[in-house]
Symmetry: C2
Subunit: 355 residues, 2 copies
Amino acid sequence: MGADERVTERSQPARAYDRAVPQDRQVTIITVAERAGVSKTTASDALRGSGRVSEETRRLVVGVAEELGYVPNDSARHLRRARTGAIGLHLPEVLPRSDYYMSFVFGAVQAAADHGYDVTLLTSGTGVAPSRSPRVDGLVLGDPLADDPVVDKLMGSALPTVTCERYSGPGEPDGVVWSDHGAALQTLLGHLSDAGARRPALIVPGDESDWAASVHRAYREWCGQRGVALITRSVPFDANADATSAAARSLLTDEPQLDALVAAPTSAAATLLPVIREAGRRVGEDLLLASCVDAPALRFADPAITAIDVRPREAGAACAELLFELLTGSAVPGVERIHPIELNVRESTQRRRAA
Amino acid sequence: MGADERVTERSQPARAYDRAVPQDRQVTIITVAERAGVSKTTASDALRGSGRVSEETRRLVVGVAEELGYVPNDSARHLRRARTGAIGLHLPEVLPRSDYYMSFVFGAVQAAADHGYDVTLLTSGTGVAPSRSPRVDGLVLGDPLADDPVVDKLMGSALPTVTCERYSGPGEPDGVVWSDHGAALQTLLGHLSDAGARRPALIVPGDESDWAASVHRAYREWCGQRGVALITRSVPFDANADATSAAARSLLTDEPQLDALVAAPTSAAATLLPVIREAGRRVGEDLLLASCVDAPALRFADPAITAIDVRPREAGAACAELLFELLTGSAVPGVERIHPIELNVRESTQRRRAA
DNA sequence: ATGAAAGCGCTAACAA
DNA sequence: TTGTTAGCGCTTTCAT
């Protein structure tokens, strides 16, 4: 780093932060109590509004605390209450799905904040000390993949756990928030069929995620019931645009009678447009196109692409909420909750006359 | 939630988690000490490898701890050491940049894990209790926007703070990790010029982020020095594909002599391809196209789009690293560190003959 | 309606 | 090389 490092001059003398630097003296609950002329206990009760102290005293203490800039020490509080005040959030580190996960994260953070909780991010990366169990009161696992060893370990911990989508590996979460992706896909297939599609194909990741497995299963069912040929291509869960394009190309080449294409992965459908054009097909005319996971890129593509809105932010919030209910006992372990999703129909599946 | 809720039967009786449930008795350091026949202190020293105890005793204690499944209570440790063991990470909640931020986050989490720290996510969302200062030992702010009130508040806290990119609002961070986006853009402009471009245009967000401001400034400088006309369109920092497309369309209409287009925002360039095609221009032939922030979608676009690789994962890790150095005193407040970035030249800027 | 005292689990200062 | 003691700041009995 040598050559790339510089230090700007500052008004204050540089000082290290290796210890907490009590300006005068850390303002604790004792400071507040003394200053207000009450006991620790009373101060504590007043500040937390336990309803044990007189309104008058309460106001006095609160005033003093404010004046002193008192902020409760969470470590002490956590030690006393035997909890950490944080929930852990694990996500597969899959960049092509980052739109989804980003929203999911912020939804969870929001919900956690509403309950006074922090969200600690957990990764499956190499940095995870394998023996150290996370210092959190509970876990949310987004899209737990069956073959992720870190997920396995987390599921094996004694912590209350909520997964978003079902988990097919060993162990059962205490709560599950899931969306009926299968039903949504069948709605979509019905819509395509109504628009005249007879040979719909599906590009879908393998079955390590419950989401993909559900989508895949629903497709097979739907086609089976109608005697429609199964036309699928499988891609990795973390398939980037390249892999998905390759799948689409092979589909377009091998199945000339294809008249509808559903690409499950988020970002995929938008990047398929050039591939489709190259193949001499016209989206919305002789080929319908849709995605199982909506994204801004789909809404603004040309033509705009029909997709299932899985409402990731709300899903993240719902997972956190359920976890808190589990933590407080207002929900019982084993609960499953359905997170509603909906189909956004756009140009790409509304058959127009060729211009 | 009623109708959407169900409870699966489980082998164990359902039990709430509202209190920590000590199976027998929580295994503390005292348990370990007693079982090993040593004092608390010795057990503590042995487990942390303070080098105070004999090798023999150390092994004994460690063995016992392992056998008992002892895991240190971090709340107690934090209380004692007057620190929280977590760093806060704040990011603007900007979906169109989620690829970048997602990588950034995981880089930071990785680096933090290497130091035994957790990462707590902070948002500018509504859920943030305005009075509560975050329970962390330090802060990393990715792309602090000048007009974000939460960023202001965080910068105003007494916590050691590292920003990724400079902060132009009130207050100075203790550390800055920044990349020379200006220089990179000028390299890119030089490259476009070499490829024959005479009228390069720039689509760039406003100056609330230091990144965009730098890019914008470098463009003006470069053009100024060469007597090249300034052709720019401004978009919001969180511009989605729609806004960027509109800017590009206006550019292509108003400036028919345009022969190169640099779109600063991440995802933008790829979604510009249809717009450009519509306008009757051919990328890599009569119009060069590039982006200031690389992304998978650019690498796999057709044609592949030249972009500046800003290495977000490494940037996140570098910020966390710097923060830890600040925390331990091995770096002094006021330090700036440059995070190297590089240009990835691809088809979109290599002028080909028209086919 | 309020206080006094105990103690969460750990580490650091002081002894031996 | 090891043990004893004193808290970190808070919440919670148990008294009053």
